[in-house]
Amino acid sequence: MRDGRRSRLPVRLLCSAAVRHLAQVPRRNGFRHPRLRPLAAALLVALALGACAPGEDGVVRTSASGPRWFGATSLPPGDVFRFSLGAEPETYDPGLAVGQPDGRVARILFEGLTREDPQTLEPLPGQAYRWELSDQGRTYTFHLRPGIQWSDGRPVTAGDFRWSWLRVLRPETASRYASFLSPVVNAEAFNKGDVKDDRQVGLEAPDDSTFVVHLASPVPYFLYLCQFYTCLPVPRWTIEKYGNRWTLPGTIVTNGAFTLTYWRQNNRFEFAKNPRYWDAASVRLGRMVGYTLDDLNTTFNLYKAGVIDWCPSGYFPSAFIPYMRGYGDYSHGDFQGVYFYSISVTHPPMNNVWVRRALNHAVDRDAIANQLLKGSRRPWGNLVPTGYPGYLNPPGIRFDPGYARQCLAKAGYPGGQGFPKISILINTSEDHRRIAEAIQAMWKRELGIAVAIQNEEWGSYLQTLTSLHYDVARRSWLGDYLDPNTFLACYVTGDGNNRSGWSDSRYDAMIRDAAKELDPARRLAILQQAEALLLSEGPVVPIYHYSTNELIKPYVRGIYHTALDIHPLTRVWIDHDWQKRAAPVAVAPGGPGTETR
């Protein structure tokens, strides 16, 4: 930021005083202003301007008719791309990575057998340049690209993939996402320690460039599964040498488009182009800087000031979303995630299905999504989000206060009489609190019941959620792969992500049947029935459909909206002539991932 090599912003259209100040941004050698005014004057101006929404100040137009851009639009020095990574990743060891920031870093550093298309996320050839499906969809044979190397010059071999996948499965690795590989023959048993011999697991490397995967039964979305970051290859020799610390800069060895050159916890990651990457010729960025920023307002400010070029979805305060719509920076789209309230069905009155229905039908999703959240989210009455190819959602739950009151009466609490005080569990966050306050008021108004809000910090919240010691709890679920199963499987009896105590043998049977069904249309039809059952009986009060809302500077090219909010950054580039090009950045936003907090 201080190297001051950035080019100057051509000042074309400046009207207000605020904009005049903005024009100073390009002289960015450390934000020094030639005429430093007295602090008092500055503060007065600030307060006066504070009264305008960001729509009013800090606007630069590139031409009289072109899109407006938010805040500074001075180019970064050279081919550097700077963005927010969100919270500090816990680990970016691909096999152990958990959260969205973890995965983002892992995907920058490593490349799997396939890589995602930046727009559709469909598998494109990556480290494997082709693959075949045989044995009625149960055997995948991947052929590795000749000449691929790790960043230390060693060849990437099929053995590396086999070792990496087995590492994920080994019980002592304690990988949280080992279940992604469970379709592989004996993978689950090996992961549980029931099978000790790794040769019995359906992973083979007959030679250095051939990797064979045997599945127990066909899984239509297997290629999506093995695109997940858990399945990225890792360098065996560094892990064996450095243990937990192999990921630190200096020791880490990668096979992706970038290497890690610098990391400071709670500050930033710096990545440099990996010259040994097979497709290095098409990598146009020389460097990337990912800042770890956990405060959303700070992220937003840094974006406005032009310190970061990309603010991924969920990383700026949702209150600002409606005001960003007029800017060319803003991109918005659907995202495979649902925000819902979970009901713990283990105790009265929540064990009564009519109570659950009453609560469900008394939530005005439209008011929450369109009024409170100003249309930054979609009202949603289903558990499974939209956009899964071939899947039709059953009718969603609608706001129907009359029916809700009937349900409550049927449950034995006409007009809310005798209904015990229940509470909504949320984890500490202003966004969650506002929604809870709105729902608290709706339930009181429509059903006449008293509701408290129980706000717990993260650790306690998870504990309360897991132990089912709650009435209603805020939750959200984000899709891991492009199939409704990623949502519906959570509510199978005893699943670790169920967390509601709900159990229905009919539902379990449907999910099981679907898994065995080979015909895609019929499989999805079964899943649709399962979702309908879950909505009518179950512990779920859907509220809204996640959307991605991201901010991207006009000179950044190659970031697109994707359904899972995954953004391959390999082909991103900085357009130094962006003002001469009309090409709008085809982008839509990213989503929450970490918004689960």
Partner: protein, 307 residues
């Protein structure tokens, strides 16, 4: 009592205190609901067991306690649970210089501004100047820094583009966080100085000095100030320890990679090792600085003896 004996006695007292703190913290944090290996997305039971075994959390608590104490003596708290690639010690020693720098500048600014305000207020007690000076100082303590910070950012960074809005890169990035952090301390120090000066100005020797015909400014600067700022000196010890251990508010608003954020987040995340390391470090730092301040005290005020 000789200085050495004094120091030895104090250090001997610090050790059992640290032990009690370590014990208290250990059992409190382990008793808090939840544990380090929880996540929104369920962790398979097998993986969780494995993690517990790896970190020795499956052993009886007393056994864990013993091992923790033995390691703590060697200043080894093990790896953070939340960031397994890092040792607690590394995290602390990486973040401490940042917090210390931020805190150091803020404290320096507070002294440079607070002491003159306090002196002026004391010399002109109950005058308009007194009210104005103290009013200004008290305004600093009356505005929460999570309001002051964003207001400064909005004005100076996002409207005037004079200073970067956040991050700890380059000298100009220091200005806003230091300013935000120091206001409350300016108020405390001004108030302490005023109190101390008022007391001293009434003393006989000051009257004598005045009677000798020395100018008021000489009296104040040369004679009164030395004793008048004693309360400030004793305040600075604990204040320095606290301020240098980081401020969660300022660090998160300005995204400063300091210690303050770790402490709060570690407690929320039940990162046992990081919590223990930080708390013990904090306590030793605090007690150490107090010792230093007490020694400094004897140099400034000959009336005070080491006891």
């Amino acid at each position: 009592m000789s200085l050495l004996a004094f120091i030895a006695r104090r250090v001997l007292l610090i050790i059992p205190t640290l032990w009690v703190i370590a014990t208290l913290t250990f059992f409190l944090i382990h008793a808090a609901p939840g544990g380090p290996f929880q996540a929104e997305r369920d962790i398979p039971a097998a993986a969780k067991e494995q993690l517990m075994r790896q970190y020795g959390l499956d052993q009886p608590l007393v056994r864990q306690y013993g091992r923790f104490l033995a390691n703590a003596v060697r200043l080894d708290f093990g790896p953070s649970y939340k960031y397994p690639s890092r040792q607690v010690r590394e995290i602390i020693f990486e973040a401490l210089p940042v917090s210390a720098e931020l805190g150091g500048w803020a404290l320096l600014l507070a002294v440079l501004v607070g002491v003159p305000i306090g002196v002026i207020a004391a010399v002109k007690q109950n005058s308009r100047a007194d009210y104005a000076a103290m009013g200004l100082a008290l305004a600093g303590v009356s505005v929460p820094n999570f309001v002051l910070g964003p207001v400064l950012v909005l004005g100076l960074s996002l409207t005037l583009y004079l200073l970067p809005p956040a991050l700890w890169q380059g000298p100009e990035s220091r200005i806003l966080p230091v300013l935000t952090l120091s206001t409350a301390y300016i108020a405390y120090i001004a108030r302490l100085t005023r109190g101390g000066m008022l007391e001293v100005l009434r003393q006989d020797y000051i009257r004598t000095a005045r009677a000798k015909g020395l100018g008021e400014s000489v009296v104040v600067a040369k004679h009164a100030l030395r004793l008048g700022i004693l309360p400030v000196v004793s305040y600075i010890g604990p204040a320095a320890a606290r301020i240098m251990m980081g401020s969660i508010v300022v660090e998160s608003i300005f995204s400063v990679p300091g210690l303050g954020r770790y402490l709060v987040n570690a407690a929320f995340n039940r990162d046992y090792t990081l919590v223990l390391g930080e708390v013990l470090f904090y306590a030793s730092f605090l007690m150490g600085l107090n010792l230093v301040i007490d020694i400094a005290y004897t140099r400034l005020d000959p009336r005070v003896e080491l006891a």
